[in-house]
Amino acid sequence: MSINGQAYIVGAYEHPLRKAPDKSLAQLHAEVALGALADAGLSKDDVDGYFCGGDVPGTGPFSMVDYLNLRVRHADSTNIGGASYILHVNHAAQAIAAGKCDVALVTLAGRPRSEGVPKGGLKRTDSPVQPDYAWETPFGMTILNVYAMCAMRHMHEFGTTAEQLAWVKVAASHHAQHNPNAMLRDLVTVDDVLNSTLVADPLHKLDCCIVSDGGGAVVVTRPEIARQLKRPLVKIRGAGEAVKHTAGGAIDLTYSAGRFSGAAAFAEANLTPADVKYASVYDSFTITVIVQLEDLGFCAKGEGGRFVADGNLIAGVGRLPVNTDGGGLCNNHPFNRGGITKIIEAVRQLRGEAHPAVQVANCDIALAHGTGGMLGTRHGGATLIIERE
């Protein structure tokens, strides 16, 4: 069974706050849920499917379904870190195609800034019950230094430079200057990135994403319902997901799960990277974008550094506009999980509702891709390809 054409994204909403000390986590989830439903022209009583990741309070979907007082006949709390929400749209489309639900709600929210979660060298939050724990955590592994090792290897194998990494951040800042809600709106140059603190060789502080409070939600439904609503039609063309891991010690840090999830999504959509007018690509770090662009097929393996250089990701300047909301590097990265914002900006681009300064002309095909977990150990990849009908 293919999901190509079986479901539509009809609602998308990004919380305007980047710091929310006066709101509860459940409240943030509810606010983004109601925002996305209002955007679609639906109410909470239309929802019969709920999808969430590891950021919800409580066990799986229970507490949020209760808080919102939903009546669902399908729920899915698959957790692949920050890429979960892209996977959820895939799962929602599958459930809709199988007749298991009609209106699916996907939410993400968090308030790490208000709860004092440290930025930068975040420790892994995994459990000592995990079989891999004792073989990684005692060596001081953090999100930051394990991604840094991926960057180091990429530079070694392919000649990727710190300047090329910096161009990813520069592009994000060019986009964020037009986003009034973005956490960081100042333009940044390559030199600014290279002159920022070296935090984990070869990554500088400005190679790293922000951590923000807030969240976002999307609503997915069947074609008949989508056509009754008054929003532009955003059709799901294809999706893919994969898990990459350490393979018994056969470590290769130069590629991600996106190699497999991207290929599956393009095959289902019957499209190629050349068809994509806009791409949301998970930007936990600058290196993440380079590796994923290669894996998705926008350039050859090893060419990512050269591909992103000289403004090639900047709307109106380069060949492939990426993360026109400012991405996780500048705009929003709620709860260290950027997946939902990746979908939301892709929907904005297809609807023609991106900021005029970054709106891609004739944007008919968009891609959203995420990597959740650790690029350098084990992670999930999720790819979604959507089309303006």
């Binding site: 840094a148 290897r153 070694h156």
Partner: protein, 128 residues
């Protein structure tokens, strides 16, 4: 009890690795069915799924596959992936070396006697 001790207590299948290492013997987990070594060690071979795994003495030799210097830590340190002479690549630290000397491709050897919390000996490496 430290979180590492707790983690070890959850993993009876790798208990021998840690006790051997504390005695100055670096062991790798091999599969008797497919004759391949793997990392991290486990009771069931990740290559061929055989439960016939066993500990064998390892050379303690390897080369740096990748590394980073964690410069924001209270005491900066080198984290690395080292590809062992026997094949698998493992996460570790490079100790006792100037950070500037560390590079991908450089040979390393196991450095015994490096203890973490609770006196647990860790498999770390130094430049050879």
């Amino acid at each position: 009890m430290s979180v590492l001790r707790e983690a070890l207590d959850h993993q009876p299948e790798t208990k021998a690795f840690w006790s051997e290492l504390a005695e100055g013997r670096f062991k790798l987990c091999y599969c008797r069915a497919c004759e391949r070594a793997h990392w991290y060690p486990r009771a069931i071979c990740p290559h061929c799924a055989s439960p016939e795994t066993e500990w064998r003495a390892a050379s303690g030799q390897g080369t740096i596959y990748s590394y980073s210097i964690a410069r924001t830590a209270a005491e900066p340190f080198a984290i690395a992936y080292v590809t062992l002479a026997e094949g698998p690549t493992m996460m570790t630290n490079i100790v006792g070396s100037d950070f500037a000397e560390i590079a991908i491709g450089k040979p390393v050897e196991i450095a015994f006697g490096h203890e973490a919390e609770d006196g647990i000996t860790l498999p770390v490496f130094r430049l050879a």
